[in-house]
Symmetry: C2
Subunit: 234 residues, 2 copies
């Protein structure tokens, strides 16, 4: 039986906020001549390859804002969208600063905050995460980012950096995420793990088939309110 963690570190994109729905809604609002769901999927599909280039050293350290923009330029070309001005593309890129939380997020985080220190551990840059928290009312105790550690997840430095920041042992930190690869990497560093089911993360046309409970997670929850209940928060 593991002891209660002191620090809950949250993955953000997909776990806390609905990137797919928010981006598809923005594409619709802007009347982009695309299938909004395909556009959201294409933009996000560029994310892991871009980060892998930074992790391998083939790109120098680059903020997610700038990676998002590089990918967006490619996606706009691929969808043959030429109607946007430079300032409109810049503004569109900032949609990642205004992603909407899932319906349970603010209440769930607030409950968890009453008992634990709640922090982000996201590959998103600090400015993006701060804007998002202000816009969506996310009550973080501390915003931590790969930008602080200069290592993108799943590099161990990111997970261990949370423990070092609070001068606690790795097992006193629990990563909360909707992605199993993230949790596996955290567990390898000695963190506790909580999986959150987010069946609609990839939009209405994609049914996630990886929502089952795994042996490597300490907790498995439907959403953040469910996690708060399992952790005996009010």
């Amino acid at each position: 039986m593991s002891t209660d963690p002191k620090i809950l570190a949250f993955d953000v994109f997909g776990t806390v906020v609905d990137w797919h729905g928010s981006i598809a809604a923005e594409a619709t609002r802007l009347n982009l001549p695309v299938d909004a769901n395909e556009f959201a999927t294409a933009w996000r599909d560029g994310y892991k390859p871009a980060m892998a280039r930074v992790r391998s050293g083939s790109l120098p350290w680059t903020k997610i804002d700038d990676l998002h923009r590089m990918i967006l330029d490619d996606v706009l070309k691929a969808f043959n969208i030429t109607s946007l001005s430079e300032s409109q593309v810049h503004e569109l890129n900032l949609i990642w600063h205004r992603l909407n939380p899932w319906l349970d997020t603010v209440e769930g985080l607030t409950r968890l905050k009453s008992k634990f220190t709640i922090v982000t551990l996201s590959n998103g840059n600090l400015g993006l995460l701060a804007d998002m928290a202000k816009n969506a009312g996310l009550p973080w105790d501390l915003i931590l980012s790969a930008e602080v550690f200069r290592h993108y997840k799943p590099d161990p430095e990111a997970y261990l950096g949370v423990a070092e920041t609070f001068d606690v042992r790795p097992e006193q930190v629990m990563l909360v995420a909707a992605h199993k690869d993230d949790l596996v990497a955290a567990k390898a560093c000695g963190l506790q793990t909580a999986f959150i089911e987010r069946p609609l993360e990839f939009g209405p046309n994609y049914a996630r088939k990886d929502l089952h409970r795994e042996e490597f997670t300490n907790y498995h929850a439907k959403d953040l309110n469910d996690l708060a209940a399992q952790l005996k928060c009010k």
Copy 2:
């Protein structure tokens, strides 16, 4: 006439929280055989020299928590206090995580947050600042620290780091501080500046003589509520 800033970056020790009163109260609570005001002053007096050693490179990068501990060990020796166990000294060192806000702080910050993005720019480490915010209810949009930039104030990298974090120009950031050397360094980097009078920062036995308005500040306020009023926050 300068335009309104977008980001208000706050010095913390002395500007937002009352380090002297909090530490003196802790010395009294622990029945340390010292003059509580002298003890608080001695501990803080070690701060600038310790940071100067990091800034000059004679010490490698060291968190404030660890600098505070080095200074505390010296201060305990100087005051001939030998009654504390290792765990009691460790706990005493963490008083910096629990410093009390000034009476106007929470209301003033909340008002300023309604119109601006409010962040810390402190030499305190992230874990210290997060614990302090949670304990005192400080509603930061983002906690930034010298630890993020690996440069202690007044190194320019710390001030310019705030602008880079939010992808804004230096003049769109305003440093809010009770210390003129901090404001002078920020202004040299192109930031706007607001001075906050904190007559009791150094305790009841020390009258600050440097509270007058200066030409190099954009704003000069009695406290954070006064600054909120001058910046036309509700």
